[in-house]
C-alpha cells in the first residue's frame, strides 16, 4: 500500500519531467543497446566460425609433421619430412577410434585445358578423403583403391577450377586436362562449398590419388599431412591422444623429447578461433559497458539536480508526514524507474539495430538471452547504485531547512 503510493509519486515526478527524463535515459538506452548489439555481433561471428569449421568436418583430426606451434594460420607441413606413409599405415592399423584415414600430399601448379589455364592446388589423397571432409560429388565418381594402387592419372575438380578451365560450360567428365605437364582424366566434380570464414575458396582444388601426386608430380617420399576422422565428435579428443601415442611409439621418441608432429582435432581449431573472437567480444562489451556506466552517472547527476531542485517539495512532504525512508524510497524508485525504462528502450533499440545489422550489413548476429538479462540487471543495479546517494541526501534533509530552501 505505502510502496504503491511511493511508486505513484515517483512515476508522477517522471511524467512531469518527460524531456529531462528521456535525456537522462539516453545514456542508459545507448549503453544497453550497445551491449546487446555488440554481444549479438560477437556471438554471431563465433557461431559462424563454428559452423564453417564444422562444415569442414567436425570429427576431423589433422596430423602434421613438425613440432606443434599452435598457430591457426599455418601451411600444410612445409618441408618438414617426419611424416611417412608408414606412419599412416601404422595409425590405420592400430587406432581404434578412427573410422576414416587418408594420407595427404599437396602441391601448387597450373591446371590446363587447351588454351585455358588456372593456378590451383592439387591434393593427393585416398578415397576416404571425401568422408573425412564431408564433401560429396556433383558429378562423376571418386577414384578407387585400385586406382590409388596403380597411381592412375585421374582427378576430381572443384567448381572454381571447372569454371576457369571450362569457361564455355562443357561437361568436364571424361575430358583430358593437364596439371603442370602431366595429363589427367577428369572423373568427377566436387560439390560446391564456397568460401570458408577465413576467406579461402574451398572449391579451388584438384583431387587425385596420393600415389600419383607423390610420385609423378612432387617426387617426394614423405607426406604433408595425414587426415583422419574420429568415430564421433565426442571421441575426437581421445582419438587425438591415441594417435599421439601411436606416433610417439612409431617415431621412437623418448619421454624427454617433444613430439615431432602435431595432432589436432577440429574442436581445438574452433576454440582457437573462438578465443580470438571472444577477446573481440570482451572488448566490444567493455566499450558498451563503459557507456552504460556513463549512463548511470547521468542518472546520478540528474537525481542530484532533482533533489536540489525539489528541496522545498521534500520539506513539504516531510511536513505533512513523509518519513526519511519514504523520501529515500521515492527518489530511489524514481532512479530505478528511469534506469529500467531506459533498459527496456535500450533492449528494443539493441534488438532492432541488431536486426538492421543482420539485414543490411549481412553480418552474422545472434542475440543471446543472457545478454538481455545481464544488461537489464545491470540497469536495475545502476539505478539503485547511482540513485542511492542522491536519495539518501534527500532523506537526510532537515524539514525546516528544506522548507526554507529557495
Amino acid at each position: 500500500m505505502r510502496l504503491l503510493n511511493l511508486f505513484k509519486i515517483a512515476f508522477k515526478a517522471i511524467v512531469l519531467n518527460k524531456v529531462r527524463t528521456l535525456l537522462t535515459m539516453l545514456g542508459i538506452i545507448i549503453g544497453v543497446a550497445a551491449v546487446i548489439a555488440m554481444l549479438a555481433i560477437g556471438e554471431g561471428s563465433k557461431e559462424s566460425i563454428r559452423s564453417t569449421i564444422s562444415s569442414m568436418g567436425s570429427n576431423m583430426i589433422t596430423i602434421r609433421p613438425g613440432e606443434d606451434d599452435r598457430g591457426p594460420a599455418r601451411g600444410s607441413g612445409g618441408d618438414v619430412q617426419t611424416l611417412t606413409l608408414n606412419d599412416y599405415e601404422v595409425i590405420k592399423e592400430k587406432s581404434t577410434l578412427l573410422n576414416y584415414i587418408t594420407p595427404l600430399v599437396n602441391g601448387g601448379g597450373q591446371v590446363i585445358n587447351g588454351a585455358n589455364n588456372w593456378p590451383s592446388t592439387i591434393y593427393g589423397v585416398n578415397p576416404e578423403y571425401l568422408d573425412i571432409k564431408v564433401v560429396g560429388l556433383q558429378n562423376g565418381s571418386m577414384f578407387t583403391d585400385a586406382e590409388v594402387q596403380s597411381a592412375s592419372k585421374v582427378v576430381l575438380l572443384g567448381q572454381t577450377v571447372v569454371d576457369n578451365i571450362f569457361p564455355d560450360g562443357e561437361d568436364p567428365i571424361g575430358k583430358l586436362i593437364r596439371f603442370n605437364s602431366i595429363p589427367f582424366k577428369v572423373i568427377g566434380v566436387l560439390e560446391q562449398k564456397g568460401e570458408n570464414t577465413f576467406g579461402q575458396d574451398q572449391d579451388d582444388v584438384v583431387i587425385a590419388p596420393f600415389t600419383t601426386v607423390q610420385k609423378r608430380i612432387l617426387a617426394i617420399d614423405y607426406l604433408n599431412q595425414i587426415l583422419a576422422s574420429a568415430v564421433s565428435e565426442d571421441d575426437a579428443p581421445e582419438a587425438v591422444t591415441e594417435v599421439t601415442e601411436i606416433l610417439r611409439a612409431q617415431h621412437k621418441l623418448l619421454d624427454n623429447q617433444n613430439d615431432d608432429f602435431s595432432v589436432r582435432s577440429m574442436e581445438e581449431l574452433i576454440s582457437t578461433f573462438s578465443s580470438t573472437s571472444e577477446m573481440l567480444t570482451v572488448l566490444l562489451v567493455a566499450v558498451a559497458g563503459i557507456s552504460l556506466l556513463i549512463g548511470g552517472i547521468g542518472i546520478m547527476n540528474i537525481m542530484y539536480v532533482s533533489v536540489k531542485e525539489r528541496t522545498k517539495e521534500i520539506g513539504l512532504r516531510m511536513a505533512v508526514g513523509g518519513k526519511g525512508s519514504d523520501i529515500l524510497m521515492q527518489f530511489l524508485i524514481e532512479a530505478i524507474l528511469i534506469s529500467i525504462t531506459g533498459g527496456i528502450l535500450g533492449v528494443i533499440l539493441g534488438l532492432s539495430s541488431t536486426y538492421f545489422i543482420e539485414t543490411f550489413l549481412q553480418w552474422p548476429t545472434s542475440v543471446a538471452l543472457y545478454s538481455i538479462i545481464i544488461s537489464f540487471a545491470v540497469c536495475a543495479v545502476t539505478g539503485i547504485f547511482f540513485g542511492w546517494y542522491p536519495a539518501r541526501k534527500a532523506a537526510a534533509l532537515d524539514p525546516i531547512t528544506a522548507l526554507r530552501y529557495e
Partner: protein
C-alpha cells in the same frame, strides 16, 4: 473538561550562527485547549515562526518541554515525529507550498499518501470532502498555476484538514493576500473553528488577531501579552463592510 491540545513549559530555542548565539525563544510557557482559536502576534524576528515550527514538530526546542495531545515530543525519533505531523497536525504556510503542476485534489491527498491506514478510495473521498469544505469542490482538477492566491491558500487549508488533525497551525497564512481575500480566508478559519477545530495562527497584522478568541504577543522571544478577546469580530461581517472595489 477542557482538553489540553498543546502544553509547553519554559521552551527555549537557540541558534548558533558562527560564534554568536541567537536566542529566538527565551523560555515560553502556555497551554492551548481544544477548540481555541489562538493568534500569535509580534513584530518580525520576534520568534513567531520558530515557535510555530516547534509546535508543528518540524523543529525541536533547545530546552523545555512540549506535549501535544498528551504526547511528550521531546523523546520522539525522527520517524515518530513524522507520524505525529501526519496524524495530529495540519500545517499552513505563507507561500502555500503546493506541488506545482499537480491538481488541487492530488495536492490535498498528499498527507494521506503517507498514511498507510487510509485506502485509495477513502483518500480520494476525504480529499474531495476537504476541498468542498473550503469551497473548491468544482476546482479539483485545477493545478496551482490555474488558481488565484486565495484559492491556492484554500487548497493548502484543505490539505491541512484532510488528515483530521487535532490542531491546525498557520504561519502568516494571509501574508501574501490582499485584504479582501485575507478576510475571506479568515472567515473560513472561523467556520472551521466553529466546527471545533483548534487553530494556532501566526500573524503580525492586528486586524487579523481580532478574529481569534485569544492572542499571544511575542517580543524578542518572550511572551509580553496573553489575553482572551472579549469582542471577537466576524470576518464575514467585516468582509461585507469592506468598500466594494471595481474589478
Amino acid at each position: 473538561m477542557n482538553k489540553e491540545i498543546i502544553k509547553i513549559n519554559d521552551l527555549k530555542r537557540e541558534f548558533t550562527m558562527g560564534n554568536e548565539i541567537v536566542h529566538a525563544l527565551r523560555g515560553i510557557s502556555f497551554t492551548i485547549n481544544e477548540g481555541e482559536f489562538v493568534t500569535i502576534m509580534g513584530s518580525s524576528g520576534s520568534g513567531k515562526s520558530t515557535l510555530l515550527n516547534i509546535l508543528g514538530c518540524l523543529d525541536q526546542p533547545t530546552s523545555g518541554t512540549y506535549e501535544i495531545d498528551n504526547v511528550k515530543v521531546k523523546d520522539l525519533s525522527r520517524n515518530e515525529l513524522a507520524t505525529i505531523r501526519n496524524e495530529k497536525i495540519g500545517f499552513i504556510f505563507q507561500s502555500y507550498n503546493l506541488l506545482a503542476r499537480t491538481s488541487a485534489l492530488e495536492n490535498v491527498e498528499l498527507p494521506l499518501l503517507y498514511n498507510s491506514k487510509v485506502s485509495t478510495e477513502e483518500r480520494k473521498e476525504r480529499a474531495y470532502k476537504a476541498l468542498e469544505m473550503v469551497g473548491l469542490g468544482d476546482r479539483m482538477g485545477h493545478t496551482p498555476s490555474q488558481l488565484s492566491g486565495g484559492q491556492q491558500q484554500r487548497v493548502a487549508i484543505a490539505r491541512s484538514l484532510v488528515n483530521n488533525p487535532v490542531m491546525i497551525l498557520a504561519d502568516e497564512a494571509t501574508g501574501n493576500l490582499d485584504t479582501r481575500t485575507s478576510y475571506e480566508i479568515m472567515s473560513l478559519f472561523q467556520e472551521l473553528n466553529e466546527k471545533g477545530i483548534t487553530i494556532t495562527f501566526v500573524t503580525h497584522e492586528p486586524d487579523i488577531a481580532t478574529f481569534s478568541s485569544r492572542t499571544i504577543v511575542l517580543k524578542d522571544g518572550n511572551i509580553i501579552k496573553d489575553y482572551l478577546n472579549k469582542d471577537i469580530k466576524s470576518a464575514a461581517t467585516e468582509l461585507a463592510a469592506l468598500p466594494v472595489e471595481d474589478h
